[in-house]
Symmetry: C2
Subunit: 191 residues, 2 copies
DNA sequence: CATGACTACTCATATCGATGACTATCGCTA
DNA sequence: TAGCGATAGTCATCGATATGAGTAGTCATG
């Protein structure tokens, strides 16, 4: 299982409801895993049944009540076992790279448009991640925080997200430029 | 579908047998998709049934015969449609980042070991990718090749792989160093 | 006072992907 | 000559993921 551990890791950061987790795991914010709302609710139910998390009803006024969850001792044990197990190699599955790989035999225009769009998204995510990093380290500078801060896990994982988004952004723009220039030259040649 | 298009894109590079594709898609080599052998054979059967590729028996001496596949016109059409469709956001699913995210509450030792191991793997992949790039561009330099070369798709997608592996490598080592230093300080404090 | 947007969550299903176990031939080496 | 590793592939199955549709209350806006 996989989502399981991602949910447990996310819940180490505090008490969250299913709905709040959907925000954390939503396309924009999760820097290490993606999951749809339905998957999360299902996973939370399973985790609670297995005793790895406990739920607590929170009565709210003005909006529906919610159940918030915390990791139990058993849950921590599960995470420990997970951390000790050999890591599976990173799985990348990117539609866009597949399209670029095949672009020589295809119309480059839609691919270029998607590269630009992806670059925009990556820039937005990068911005968001930088804000999260700034909030996490408070008024310490990065070096000091990494040496002396209390919780560096989320900071370090967010740094990974930053790197990925920055590279994605740069690669997309450079690739879009290359393809655009080539398209212009080909047009000039076969009018 | 997803693997489908990755296979079609890979087959644009030439005629390959199922077994050759398993090598290309194997953990080390695929810079854009991973698939197990069984998935590939199943996918090839389906693609041939749908007329998107055609198989050709190649009789070999000294080793079992094999069937090699080529993309048909219909297959190219499918790829064109795929390229024009909006790209799905990149899905990252990385066990190791989840472990790092949770590391504050866990024993850091196995996580550090896995970070070092991942860094080694990334360095090896990076090496391999650089060789592939050198082979693809022949004796042109990168800039000239990207401007004037015939098939830049595989080159561009491999560049994406390079960036990813380089960042992975650097992040893993930096994170391992940070965690190691923190572990040393904590040991000194609680003996 | 109707409409849409946001919070909060559920059910059902189809497709995808991961895994283990198996067959068979050839060439090389101990 | 037995065994190993590489080539070349098949079958079956389980669990994970993706997607569509649906419920229900609250709040603000026009």
């Amino acid at each position: 299982m996989a989502l399981k551990h991602a949910v447990l890791a996310a819940l180490l950061g505090g008490e969250y409801s299913g709905y709040q987790l959907t925000k954390i795991f939503d396309v924009g914010v999760s820097n290490f895993w993606y999951a749809a709302p339905q998957q999360l609710y299902a996973e939370l139910t399973r985790l609670e049944a297995d005793g790895l998390i406990t739920g607590r009803e929170v009565v709210q006024k003005g909006r529906p009540n919610k159940r918030v969850f915390t990791v139990t001792e058993a849950g921590l044990g599960e995470l420990t076992a997970f951390a000790a197990a050999p890591a599976k190699p990173l799985l990348i599955r990117d539609d866009l790279v597949v399209k670029v790989h095949a672009v020589d035999r295809l119309d480059p225009a839609p691919v270029i448009a998607q590269l630009r769009e992806r670059a925009r998204e990556a820039a937005a995510k990068l911005d968001l991640f930088r804000q999260i990093l700034a909030r996490l380290r408070g008024d310490l500078d990065e070096e000091t925080f990494l040496r002396e801060g209390e919780h560096v896990g989320p900071y370090l994982s967010c740094l990974a997200g930053c790197r990925l988004e920055r590279e994605t952004h740069d690669w997309c723009l450079q690739t879009a430029r290359t393809l655009t220039e080539r398209a212009a030259r080909t047009e000039g040649r076969t009018p």
